[in-house]
Symmetry: C2
Subunit: 292 residues, 2 copies
């Protein structure tokens, strides 16, 4: 039995950076330290942070004192203005890649462009981005919605940094038929593109694949969809405990991948659980391989 871990599975640079900033802030600051929204879409990590003295606040109105950390997804200018008028110290942990997309949306809005943002309208990154569009942004979640748009001489299209590249390409194809000049900005971060490609390739090599991560994580959900398209025996698990012998039946090669918010421990636990399950089976040899 062989376990292969997909390239770039687990915590991305932006999320790792936000976690480091949060922990450093907790060490340096007295008083209350809160994050505006969960720092990461992973229940285990959130629980650990809470135990370490970093709470999570959903509504900016609940923030009154101490230090507030803006998570990697960023916030809209309105939210930023709102919290900056309070008696709070702001630590901005917005992912530099997301920051770059925010600036792009701001620039396109100044150029009076219609801006199509391909992403999930409930995702915090998208809620932040749309705020920079000065009313000229339009969130599109799939090619069906894109198909309903009217013809336009000029428009721009960009994506949530963790968008599914395949879906983005489908939306662009749809827009080509409805736009004379379409400016396409591939804002899907490099790490996401590599992770998606690696997961997709892995899905065609193994007999079972586990996507490890929080159900609330948009990019982990996308990995699941990508893998499921190729390998029906793909399972989305929040923790290693959910792995059953039945899921592994007949599989000689098993893949593991995880989203940008999946901590390395969660992936390691999945590896251990798979190994343990196999120990009770006749063929006991196993190896673990990480793609580079």
């Amino acid at each position: 039995m062989e376990i292969i871990i997909a390239k770039n599975a687990g915590l991305c640079y932006g999320v790792r950076r936000a976690l480091t900033i949060a922990k450093k802030t907790r060490r340096l600051k007295k008083g209350k330290v809160s994050t505006l929204g969960d720092l990461i879409h992973n229940p285990q990590v959130i629980s650990d942070l809470r135990k370490g003295g970093i709470s999570s606040v959903e509504n900016p109105d609940e923030l009154e004192e101490g230090t507030v950390i803006i998570r990697s997804h960023g916030v809209s200018p309105d939210v930023y203005k709102n919290i900056s008028q309070k008696n709070l110290e702001i630590i901005d942990a917005t992912c530099p890649i997301v920051k770059k997309i925010q600036k792009l949306v701001e620039k396109l809005a100044k150029e009076k462009m219609e801006i199509i943002i391909v992403g999930n309208k409930e995702h915090p990154e998208i809620k932040g981005l749309i705020g920079y569009s000065r009313g000229q942004g339009l969130i599109i979640e799939n090619e069906i919605q894109a198909g309903r748009l009217p013809f336009k001489k000029k428009r721009a299209v960009l994506a949530q940094s963790t968008q599914d590249l395949f879906l983005f390409e489908k939306v662009v194809s749809c827009l080509i038929e409805k736009t004379e000049e379409l400016r396409v900005y591939n804002t899907i971060c490099h790490s996401t593109q590599t992770r998606q490609r690696a997961t997709s390739e892995l899905a065609s090599q193994v007999q079972a694949l586990f996507i490890v991560g929080g159900k609330a994580s948009s990019n982990t959900n996308k990995l699941y969809q990508i893998s499921k398209r190729i390998l029906p025996n793909t399972h989305f698990i929040e923790s290693a405990e959910q792995i059953t012998p039945r899921m592994l039946r007949g599989a000689k090669k098993i893949g593991i991948s995880g989203g940008a918010s999946t901590p390395p421990e969660a992936i390691e636990e999945a590896v251990q659980k798979i190994k343990k399950t196999f120990e009770h089976q006749p063929q006991r040899e196993s190896s673990v391989q990480c793609q580079r």
Copy 2:
């Protein structure tokens, strides 16, 4: 038996316009009247034009006197300069849509953009367009060639006016993964898009489909590929004589389409040939329908 003729099958506006200009020129001008290259990719029409006193010259060096007509595909600035230095009267019948694409390439070249032109490198329109790119143009014929391009921060992509929309979208999808800011200009003419869509829809409704037109016509070839993808029983015919009873066997609904250079007579002849073939069969009722 029912014969359905695809919407926009046959002569497009640009080719009809060029034919009218050529005939008018012949009426008004004394001396030699030539077209630079075949006016239209259709052997029958070319033969008729020759009989009517309009010859076709492949090489500009062969032109010495009289009137020269630039065909709907247009020419490069170099060729234009070459013929304008001779003792010739020039009548420019370049399709206004192609003219617009030439101006776009010229504008993008001034902006120092890399310009990807999706088209057939031997096609006269493409040979003309590339001349406007000041060495910054690159002709791409398919997604495999696009896949070999290096990563670039910024580039533009446009298409031959009669390009297959599906192929253009595939090339764009490929370029998205290799470009940070991609400017997509959908320069496929409206009439071509409608013709391709109608042919593709027709292919899924009928049991046999005939693409009528000259084998040298690039856009007619594309119609054939589009239909063949959906309906294996698609036949590319240059004239009605090529229709055999075997091709029609078992077909209750028969489709006909033709490219931008297919004259209406060629389509009408195909209709008559199909009707005649069916007259020798037990079920003799037939109807002809033109999509609008």
